[in-house]
């Protein structure tokens, strides 16, 4: 098993050791498929898109700064690829108001999940109602709860302010709670 860091492998690839790119594909393939599954249900489309993500990463690898972390950079490429695929599929128009929460500063604490019980409840809600969340809330939720990324990493991937990450996670949680209590009432 290769113990080199992602960034060290990228340096090798940049110097011409293109076979080492396979190690990065191995490391991130599953994560990319899992991430993409939150956007697209069609498995064939997903495998093609993940392949496209890695091809784009390889094509643009000379533009990657190895002093930074590789995974947010790769997730950024994946984010663009999946969002574009989703837009094509749903033919969603671009909306300025989707990003209005990036305009103003927000006061949000990084710890919005207090204990294990709450985390468990959150996971349960996510499994059931994630598809119902609007895409702008779904993505930070997936990155935070499933990919276990920090606010800063999510900010790097989505190119939104760190405080906005917190706001979107908080709003997503409230929406999930609403869906959950509605389903409890109806059952």
């Amino acid at each position: 098993m290769n113990t080199q860091t992602d960034e060290a492998i990228v340096s090798l690839v940049k110097k011409g050791d293109t076979a080492s790119f396979g190690i990065l594909v191995e490391r991130y393939e599953e994560k990319m498929i899992r991430y993409g599954r939150r956007f697209l249900s069609n498995r064939d489309d997903l495998v093609d898109l993940v392949q496209e993500v890695f091809i784009k990463a390889f094509t643009n690898i000379q533009g990657f700064d190895t002093s930074l972390r590789f995974s947010p950079w790769l997730y950024r490429i994946a984010h663009n690829e999946f969002v574009n695929a989703l837009k094509k599929k749903k033919k969603e128009p671009l909306s300025f108001f989707d990003d209005v929460d990036t305009l103003f500063p927000h006061l949000v604490s990084e710890k919005n999940l207090e204990d294990e019980a709450e985390q468990k409840e959150m996971r349960l809600m996510l499994e059931k109602f994630l598809d119902k969340l609007p895409s702008k809330y779904r993505e930070p939720v997936v990155l935070y709860h499933f990919e276990e990324m920090s606010y800063q990493e999510i900010s790097e991937i989505l190119h939104i302010p760190i405080s906005t990450v917190g706001v979107r996670l908080g709003r997503a949680k409230k929406q999930l709670q609403r869906f959950y209590s509605k389903s409890q009432q109806s059952s």
């Binding site: 940049k14 293109t18 993940v50 390889f58 094509t59 500063p105 900010s155 302010p161 405080s163």
Partner: protein, 257 residues
């Protein structure tokens, strides 16, 4: 299944690389792109700085900055005489600049409001420095002497008179009904003060004061203006000792009843 899928994706990518179907974009292209982006941001910032400082210059040059002090009519005239085309151009370039800098982590990590406020503060500071340097005034002089080939029409167009209700000049003589105003083009105009005339900076004018008069011309007599408002431009001039035969202007005794 997952194992096979993994093999497929990895093998597919590596074989594409081996066959040369997928190639790395050379590093120099990223460097060129980054340089172009940075240059785009710098050029946009300079254009914004030029346009905003030019708008400030044009407002000062045409004296429309004095209009709001004359009440609602003045505010209305002020708004209609602003160089809106230039203001829209500045806003357009601010949007372009914001889009360009949002690609950088220092900008997208913080709320857009912060970067907008930062841009505005930077532009306000830059505009203040340019105003102090008399950069636009010098170019305006070149433009008036037809020595500024490209930007000449811009300076002559926006720096010249914007409308014919505002009369800047110097009081050369105080009369019983007002005063005689010497305009920058050396012509003189008789200013008539009425009970409705507004004096935002006071009424104790003296000969030699630089003033701006907002008023309407008398349709029957040429060279006579009924003042809607009179505002002093530079209060220090009142103290100039070298003006011969100066006397204090008492507006209350000079009002045309």
């Amino acid at each position: 299944m997952i194992h096979n899928e993994k093999q497929t994706i990895k093998e597919e990518i590596l074989s594409r690389i081996r066959e040369g179907k997928t190639a790395m974009v050379p590093r120099w292209r990223f460097v060129v792109r980054a340089v172009l982006m940075a240059m785009g941001a710098i050029v946009s910032a300079l254009v914004i700085l030029f346009v905003i400082s030019f708008v400030v210059f044009a407002i000062r040059q045409t004296r429309v900055s004095f209009l709001p002090a004359f009440g609602s009519r003045g505010v209305g005239l002020f708004l209609t005489s602003l160089p809106w085309l230039l203001i829209l151009l500045a806003l357009l370039f601010i949007a372009v600049f914001e889009i360009l800098i949002r690609r950088y982590a220092f900008a997208y990590r913080r709320p857009m409001l912060f970067s907008l406020v930062g841009v505005l503060l930077l532009m306000a500071g830059g505009t203040a420095i340019i105003s102090l340097s008399r950069f636009h005034e010098s170019l305006f002089e070149y433009a008036q002497n037809k020595q500024l080939p490209l930007a000449g029409p811009l300076y002559r167009g926006f720096g010249g008179e914007q409308f014919n209700h505002l009369y800047p000049g110097t009081i050369v003589e105080l009369t019983d009904s007002g005063f005689i105003l010497a305009e920058p083009n050396k012509s003189t105009t008789t200013i008539i003060v009425t009970p409705e005339t507004r004096f935002p900076t006071g009424i104790d004018f003296v000969q030699g004061d630089s003033v701006v008069v907002l008023g309407d011309s008398d349709n029957t007599t040429e060279g006579v203006i009924f003042a809607f408002g009179v505002q002093r431009v530079d209060r220090v001039l009142r103290l100039k000792p070298h003006i011969p035969n100066w006397r204090r202007f008492d507006a209350s005794s000079s009002i045309v009843k």
